[in-house]
């Protein structure tokens, strides 16, 4: 076990226990800027931990970032760990991040689907969904990116519990989703929401459940263009960007359609790096390059959010 977060091995994949330990160490080492909030419990009773990066103030405007809502997308949780360390390292030295944190808080949920993540280590590396049993079916789990109350039940999600895109019995039926819903509503001042997946190198904004563009589509597109330009500048990784429905396919009940409809204008979802050969099994040697390039895009979105209050 590493003794501190400086000796944590960011270039390797980690178990859920190691992620939880990392979070506690980061909080202990940086009590002035990081705290841990438990926003709920997973179906199997694991804590849903969120790291709060804050330099003070009360209920400041905030940016939300989550990784690992699809448990098998291991490079996302690994990138989340790197982002957390990057925030504490760069605060006070990087003027852009320091400026953002002087006005806003950042919330980071690294293991958004902890039951699924634990199961990818113990039972099935290819597990994507939550782990709640489905009454009347032998198939377990719900796709937590089809379980949100935005076009829930419309085309773009499955009603079959055995499908990888099973939407669940009702919107927000999954505690992993409901806990975020409750947190976002009770906070009431979240200005950007970024949900991170892997792997097909995309940056997308709402909508996924309908073809109608959002009222902010032009601005969201421009922000995405800049973010991807910054991302690509590091290693030349090519990304596509646009609305979910135009860029990938119709996906109802997805996270960022719900957040946008809650009034969070800067709602984005990433699909991180794909080497074209490994899919969800991106070699650990690529974790840091993936996180580094993604960080540039995140900074671009966060910077725009902080400079364009609404």
């Amino acid at each position: 076990q590493p003794k501190n977060t400086d000796s944590f091995d960011f270039a390797n994949y980690h178990t859920l226990g190691e992620i939880y330990s990392f979070q506690d160490m980061l909080v202990a080492e940086n009590p002035n800027i990081v705290s841990k909030i438990v926003i709920g419990q997973s179906y199997e009773g694991r804590p849903l931990n969120v790291l709060k990066f804050s330099t003070g103030g009360t209920n400041r405007p905030a940016i939300w970032i989550d990784t690992g809502i699809h448990s098998r997308e291991w490079v996302t949780q690994a990138s989340g760990l790197w982002f957390a360390k990057k925030i504490v390292t760069d605060y006070g030295t990087d003027p852009a991040l320091t400026a953002i944190l002087s006005q806003m808080d950042i919330f980071l949920e690294i293991a958004t689907n902890p039951d699924g993540y634990a199961f990818t280590h113990s039972g099935n590396r290819m597990w994507r969904k939550t782990r709640k049993p489905n009454p009347g079916s032998s198939c377990v789990g719900v796709d937590p990116n089809r379980n949100w109350d935005a076009g829930f039940g419309e085309p773009g999600a499955s009603s079959n519990p055995c499908s990888e895109t099973y939407r669940g019995p009702s919107a927000h039926s999954e505690s992993e989703v409901k806990s975020i819903v409750d947190f976002v509503k009770s906070h009431g001042n979240i200005k950007a929401f970024i949900s991170i997946h892997s792997y097909s190198q995309m940056l997308m904004y709402p909508y996924g459940y309908k073809r109608t563009p959002t009222n902010d589509a032009a601005e969201l597109h421009k922000v995405a263009q800049k973010a991807i330009s910054d991302l690509t500048s590091l290693y030349g990784t090519k990304y596509t960007y646009g609305s979910i429905i135009d860029t990938i396919y119709q996906a109802s009940g997805n996270t960022i359609d719900w957040t946008y409809e809650q009034g969070i204008k800067y709602s984005y979802t990433f699909e991180l790096r794909d080497t074209g050969r490994y899919g969800f099994l991106l070699p650990a040697s690529q974790i840091i390059p993936t996180a580094q390039e993604t960080w540039l895009a995140l900074m671009s979105i966060m910077d725009h959010t902080s400079k364009n209050p609404y």
């Binding site: 390797n12 290819m126 055995c162 792997y199 396919y249 050969r277 899919g279 969800f280 099994l281």
Partner: protein
């Protein structure tokens, strides 16, 4: 623990709307127990699908009969998973 001996991940590239539709049909054939890593989107966009060993021949036959191009993105999934486990274990050794 679930293992994936002999599972391949195929990368399928639909050339036109007809092929796109045929791959969508494949997506709905639950009996094949296919796991779409990257779903069907538009023509020329790759579709990645994990194919269990016991249906590999049937899936390949389906694709070849319809003249749909595919290649193996991952030849043996379990081999990569074993490598991943070894690397994780090695990283834990002080």
């Amino acid at each position: 623990k679930v293992t994936f001996e002999g599972h391949k991940v195929l990368r399928i590239v639909p050339k036109d709307e007809v092929q796109l539709s045929l791959i969508k049909d494949l997506e709905e054939m639950m009996e094949f127990e296919l796991d779409f890593w990257r779903g069907v989107t538009t023509v020329s966009n790759p579709v990645d699908v994990r194919v269990p060993f016991h249906v590999l021949k049937s899936v390949k036959d389906y694709l070849e009969t319809q003249n749909i191009d595919y290649s193996a993105m991952i030849e043996d999934l379990q081999m990569i998973l074993d490598k991943e486990q070894k690397e994780m274990a090695a990283a834990r050794v002080p």
